[in-house]
Symmetry: C2
Subunit: 181 residues, 2 copies
Amino acid sequence: MSLTHTILGFLSWKPFTGYELKKLFSETDFIYWSGNNNQIYKSLVQLSSEKLVTREVVQQDSLPAKKIYHITDKGRKELHDWASSSPEFAQVKNTFLMQLAWSGELNDRELSNLIGEYQYEVEMRLAMCRTKLERRTVLPDRTEREEYIWEMLWQKEIDYLKGELNWLVKLSQGVVKRSGK
Amino acid sequence: MSLTHTILGFLSWKPFTGYELKKLFSETDFIYWSGNNNQIYKSLVQLSSEKLVTREVVQQDSLPAKKIYHITDKGRKELHDWASSSPEFAQVKNTFLMQLAWSGELNDRELSNLIGEYQYEVEMRLAMCRTKLERRTVLPDRTEREEYIWEMLWQKEIDYLKGELNWLVKLSQGVVKRSGK
DNA sequence: TTAACCATGTAAAAAGTTACATGATTGT
DNA sequence: ACAATCATGTAACTTTTTACATGGTTAA
């Protein structure tokens, strides 16, 4: 599971709480994990037990105690080893494409509706992605190479979404041309 | 789960056995499911119990009996309803991008190695995808619109892989330019 | 006063992967 | 002799999702 490694990655920048990690996950679009509570808190317990992180408990009045996690040297080593290990091919789970694949029984209106809904969704994502890119807080102490890679990762996401839109527009046109009416 | 719906989709073309469905899954690249035995046979049992498919048992000498599944009218209705329902946004799980995101501690050789391995993987996929596209058996009784959509789905997959390669080449160049040596 | 934010977690269910199990036939 | 194809399934495990549970603070 690379959720634990992604957490180690964030902690390699600076210490965070579970709550902050959850936000980081949702702010970084090219990381797919829902980052739901269950997974994050469980992963942190696991990472602690493996001595890859340590926890620092900070009491707050009137708010529950914060648990700030710090990466250990062992954790940094684990992160390095994982980052340099053989990559797996990306998994894309796109049920919309399957809906299209079996849209044979849909009428023209239903089909254009389906495509339109997906297009709207992609447009929202693109707008959100651009906003997040602008608002992102770039941490110091990063090499030029690292910053370049993150720039490329964001750009990839934006290009992907733009590509989706282009494809959807082309598809709509092709479908209209072949419409039953 | 849309695995059951994808099975219904294939069965809407013509009846198949579980074994044949497993092959169809692996032959269609834009469907991500591994289509492992467990899931397919379990899904078929479930679909049967919901009366969305019926099973026909064909005895064979010296080979185990085939179970051929047929879609029912109820199954066709379910397929139609699913295909016209609101689409969800695609989920992309790309751990390679996360490895890149935390490649800060890798040296130049390790990083170029990582990128090179992924590039090789994408090239293999692209070659396989093109082969599958050529060899695919197009079933009759499909409208022009349906054929057009399948054409577009295959093209999308190929364009995606080509886009990945272009991005990787650009990334490699940018990384070399910023190399430590 | 209502929603969002801060901050932690648990329980149960669903989905998905990997390995195991059987066994004949056909092609290289 | 070995691998691939045909054909079914089960068991154990891991991963992921969804819902539940608590409760104070802050801003519109």
